[in-house]
Structures are given as structure tokens and as C-alpha cells.
């Protein structure tokens, strides 16, 4: 009973804050509601027994991605009235996309319920003697290691590409070179002179 109550609490807050993400007037509030959505989905994962996924969701999405997102949104100078004007214009398009996604989920999950063969192709449950961290680790790092490495390489290329595209070396910028500073010899840079009173150098 308590589990059901907790589930409905998390589910309700997830959906409600998801709605608030697109309906809040202030973009910063939208991002904060998005964070609340992530957090409650993590709660749902814990209820499913997928505690590793839950923690990774919080660490990656809430702790890193959403921070940068919030960072950017806070610094934007947005005219709120102008922003609201496009809302009705884009509502039909957004509605259609949402509907398509909904139908696809229904087809995929409904197909599993009707057809036993399709259900057999679904994800296997976690083996009983493993925690789900170990189960995930075996899947990613043992069974599908090459695909995982390939995915990692693609991400690395994307990251290097982004750096190459945005990085430019401007001439005439004086940078601090800590190695040079540390390796400087005091004898070459400092000269002690005796200055007599009343005379300059």
C-alpha cells in the first residue's frame, strides 16, 4: 500500500512539474521544474529497483547537465511577453509530435501485451543473484564492449570537433605560464644594488 502511495506521489509530481516546465512564465522556473521532474523520475527508478540508474540520473542530468542549462538560461536576457506570443502558434505542431510519440509507446508496449513472441524480444529481467549495478556493468563492459567503445569514440570525436570549431587562438594575449614562473632563476631576475642617500640609480 505504501509503495503504491509513494509511486503515485512521485508520478503525480513528475507529471505536474513536467506540465509546469512548458507552462511556467519564467524560463528559470521552467528549468527548476525540469530539475524537479528529473528528481522525481529518479524516485520512480528507485521504486522499480533500478537504484543505479536513479543515482546516475541525478548525478548526470541534475548534477551536471541541468546546472549548465540553468547557468545559460539565467544569463539570457529574455523578453517574456515576446516569448509567450509563439506559444499558440507552435501548439498544434508540438501536440502532433506528442501524439505520435504517445501512439508509438502504446504500439510498442501494447504489442508486447498482445503478442507473446514480441514480449519474448523485450528486455530480460535482472538476474536474481546480481545487483543491478553489476548486471549493467556486465552488459556494457563484457557483452557489448565493442559497441560501447564505438559509442565512446563517437562522443570523443564530437567533443574534439566542438573544441576545434569554437577554439581560436588570438594573437597578443598574455597568458600566465606557471612552469616558466616556477623555473625562473632568482639570480637572473633580481639584482641587489646599494643606493646611497641622495642619489638615484
Amino acid at each position: 500500500m505504501i509503495e503504491a502511495l509513494v509511486f503515485y506521489m512521485f508520478a503525480f509530481i513528475t507529471v505536474a512539474s513536467g506540465v509546469m516546465v512548458i507552462s511556467a512564465r519564467n524560463p528559470v522556473h521552467s528549468v527548476l521544474f525540469l530539475i524537479l521532474t528529473f528528481f522525481n523520475s529518479a524516485g520512480l527508478f528507485v521504486l522499480l529497483g533500478a537504484e543505479f540508474l536513479a543515482m546516475i540520473l541525478v548525478i548526470v542530468y541534475v548534477g551536471a547537465v541541468a546546472v549548465l542549462f540553468l547557468f545559460v538560461v539565467m544569463m539570457l536576457d529574455i523578453n517574456f511577453v515576446e516569448l509567450r506570443q509563439g506559444f499558440l502558434q507552435y501548439l498544434p505542431l508540438g501536440g502532433v509530435i506528442g501524439l505520435v510519440l504517445l501512439i508509438e509507446i502504446v504500439v510498442a508496449l501494447g504489442g508486447m501485451n498482445i503478442d507473446a513472441e514480441a514480449a519474448a524480444g523485450g528486455a530480460a529481467p535482472t538476474p536474481a543473484n546480481l545487483t543491478n549495478t553489476e548486471a549493467l556493468g556486465q552488459l556494457i563492459y563484457t557483452h557489448y564492449i565493442y559497441l560501447f567503445q564505438a559509442a565512446g569514440l563517437i562522443l570523443l570525436v564530437a567533443m574534439i570537433g566542438a573544441i576545434v570549431l569554437t577554439h581560436r587562438r588570438r594573437p597578443g594575449v598574455r597568458r600566465q605560464r606557471i612552469f616558466d614562473q616556477v623555473t625562473r632563476d632568482p639570480k637572473e631576475c633580481i639584482e641587489l644594488r646599494k643606493i646611497e642617500p641622495g642619489k638615484g640609480i
Binding site: 528559470v28 537504484e51 551536471a64 549495478t133 606557471i178
Partner: protein, 341 residues
């Protein structure tokens, strides 16, 4: 009715009792940490520190708390009221909820979950929101700059912290904090992983926005940083949250590197002292280092701070993951430490 009591009410009550038994000592420790900081820094500056209220000034934290209670809570005009007041509450409660998984002794832990380390890491990475929300909601330039600085700083240092945690996990083979401590029975991880332990500790200093990395509240340039606009109890919550975070981070370092509740040597005079006492002693030592750093070092420049995080700590910890992983596999370390694997 008796069944209802037995199944629902009593377990809830029991958990509440345990939570109170953890939170109360932490709050007292936070109060006296502020006192200890002023006394220790006073000693290092050859001053006396607070010595007027009570014997040796021991009642000073209570007087400070009372003062903050009696002050007026000011809400700046054009501030965002809801976010403005949520921010300090968030900071403070996040500093407390993380204690749920910290093992104080063998079996002395509120929630012995499988992914304890990840939980701690997740909660500590949420701490940045309190500061960012405070900076934004205050609608003030200084507070906003403080919030932005803090966001960039905490995200940067979390990355290398994560990698260092991975090196420890590689040696243990489990994400459970109790098992991490038990794996240190032969030798504390601070010895084989010494460079990592030092980097981890420095990262925790940056993560808690303490000196010499206290750029978010650099009073010389930002007046008071993200909490300029706060007064009375909201300010007190930020203040308590910062100190509770210091204790938490020291606890995390203790569990990961200093052997948690284990005595330094497994022989008689050391084993007489119970585990939780060792745990508290180790935390106190790390807290002393926190305060010592504050007295000893000038504040970092912001670009130097970023350089240290991204160009020094990140490559070193990334390399350490590879090296430690290689050593663990090559010499079968996990079975030596008696961990499951």
C-alpha cells in the same frame, strides 16, 4: 489496530528516532565547528578568539544563533520570493540528507544501500543549486556573480572527484560504503592511493567553497557573494549548510580514504576505543585541516582555480583511473583486500 501500529506506525517512529539521533549531534557539531574555527584561527593569528560569552567563550555559538533568530528577515524588492526562500532551505537540507548513508560504525548506518557512494556524490552535486538559486533570486549583481562562479567551480571539481571515487571503487569492487570501509582493514586507502587522497581532499575544499577557493563569496570583490541579500534565519541556514557540508565532506574523505571507523592498528590499546569515536576523531582532524587552510593560504585567482581543476586535477585523476585499474587487474588486488569480486 495493534497490527496497524506494529506494521506502519512503529517502523516510522523508529526511523524518525534514528534520524533525530543523527541530526541532533550534527547540528551541535556544526554550531561548535564555527566556534572551533574562530578559536583555531585566533590561535594561529596569536589572538584569543571568542572568550566572553560563557567559560572560554563556549556559549558563543548559542549567542550567535539567538542573535540570528531575533534579526529581521529582509526580502529585497524585485527579488523572486519563492526561489529566494527555497534556496537556503535546499542548501541546509541537502547537507543533512546525505548523512543517511554514512556509516558511523560497523552496522551503525541509517540506510545501508548498495549505491551509497553514488548517493553521496549525487547529493553533494545538488548543493550547487542552493547557491545558484540564491544568486539568481536575489536580483543583485554581486549575488548573481557569486552564484555563477560557484556553479562553474563546483561542476569543475566534481569531475575529478568522480574519477577519484572510481579509483577507490576499483580497489573495493562495491559501491556500498560499509564494504568500502571493510576493505580497508589491511591498509587504509590513503597509503596506496596517497596522491588521489590529497587531490580528493583539495577537491572537497573547492566543492564546499571554502578558503582558499571561496570565490563565490569573495568579500573583497563581491561584497559577500551569493548570500549578500540574505539576513537572519535564511542567512543562518546558508551558514549552517556550509559547515554541515564541511563535516559531510570530511566524513566522505574519512570513509573513502581514512578507513572510516577502523582503528589505525588492529592491536589492543587501539581496539579498546569504539569505532564511532575513531570516526569522529578522523573527521575532526580533517576539519582542523580545513580551518588550517583558511588561516594559511590566500584566495586563489579565478582563472588559477579553473586551471587547477581542469588542467591539473582532471588529467591526473583520469590517468589514475587507468593506472589503478591496471594494477587492480594485474595483481588481483580485490581478492587481496578480501572484497567480493
Amino acid at each position: 489496530m495493534a497490527e496497524f501500529w506494529h506494521d506502519y506506525i512503529w517502523p516510522t517512529l523508529w526511523i524518525v528516532i534514528k534520524i533525530v539521533a543523527i541530526i541532533l549531534p550534527i547540528l551541535v557539531a556544526v554550531a561548535y565547528l564555527t566556534f572551533a574555527e574562530r578559536k583555531i584561527i585566533g590561535g594561529m593569528h596569536r589572538r584569543k578568539g571568542p572568550n566572553v560569552v560563557g567559560p572560554f567563550g563556549l556559549l558563543q555559538p548559542l549567542a550567535d544563533g539567538l542573535k540570528l533568530f531575533l534579526k529581521e528577515t529582509v526580502l529585497p524588492t524585485r527579488a523572486n520570493p519563492v526561489v529566494f526562500f527555497i534556496a537556503p532551505m535546499l542548501t541546509f537540507s541537502l547537507a543533512l540528507v546525505a548523512w543517511a548513508v554514512i556509516p558511523f560504525g560497523d552496522g551503525l548506518v541509517l540506510a545501508d544501500i548498495n549505491v551509497g557512494v553514488l548517493y553521496l556524490f549525487a547529493i553533494s552535486s545538488l548543493g550547487v543549486y542552493g547557491i545558484m538559486m540564491a544568486g539568481w533570486a536575489s536580483n543583485s549583481k554581486y549575488a548573481f556573480l557569486g552564484g555563477l562562479r560557484s556553479a562553474a567551480q563546483m561542476v569543475s571539481y566534481e569531475v575529478s572527484m568522480g574519477f577519484i571515487i572510481i579509483t577507490v571503487l576499483l580497489c573495493v569492487g562495491s559501491l556500498n560504503l560499509t564494504e568500502i570501509v571493510n576493505a580497508q582493514k589491511t591498509v587504509w586507502f590513503v597509503i596506496p592511493l596517497l596522491p588521489m587522497a590529497v587531490i580528493f581532499f583539495i577537491s572537497t575544499v573547492a566543492e564546499t567553497n571554502r578558503h582558499p577557493f571561496d570565490l563565490p563569496e569573495a568579500e573583497a570583490e563581491l561584497v559577500g557573494g551569493f548570500n549578500v541579500e540574505y539576513s537572519a534565519m535564511p542567512f543562518a541556514l546558508f551558514f549552517l549548510g556550509e559547515y554541515a557540508n564541511m563535516i559531510l565532506m570530511s566524513g566522505m574523505t574519512t570513509v573513502l580514504f581514512l578507513g572510516g571507523w577502523l582503528p589505525p592498528f588492529d592491536i589492543v590499546p587501539f581496539t579498546w576505543i569504539p569505532g564511532p569515536v575513531w570516526f569522529v576523531l578522523k573527521i575532526s582532524f580533517l576539519l582542523f585541516v580545513f580551518i588550517w587552510l583558511r588561516a594559511a593560504f590566500p584566495r586563489y585567482r579565478y582563472d588559477q582555480l579553473m586551471r587547477l581543476g581542469w588542467k591539473v586535477f582532471l588529467p591526473i585523476s583520469l590517468a589514475a583511473v587507468v593506472i589503478v585499474g591496471g594494477v587492480v587487474v594485474a595483481f588481483d588486488i580485490q581478492s587481496v583486500l578480501g572484497a567480493k569480486g
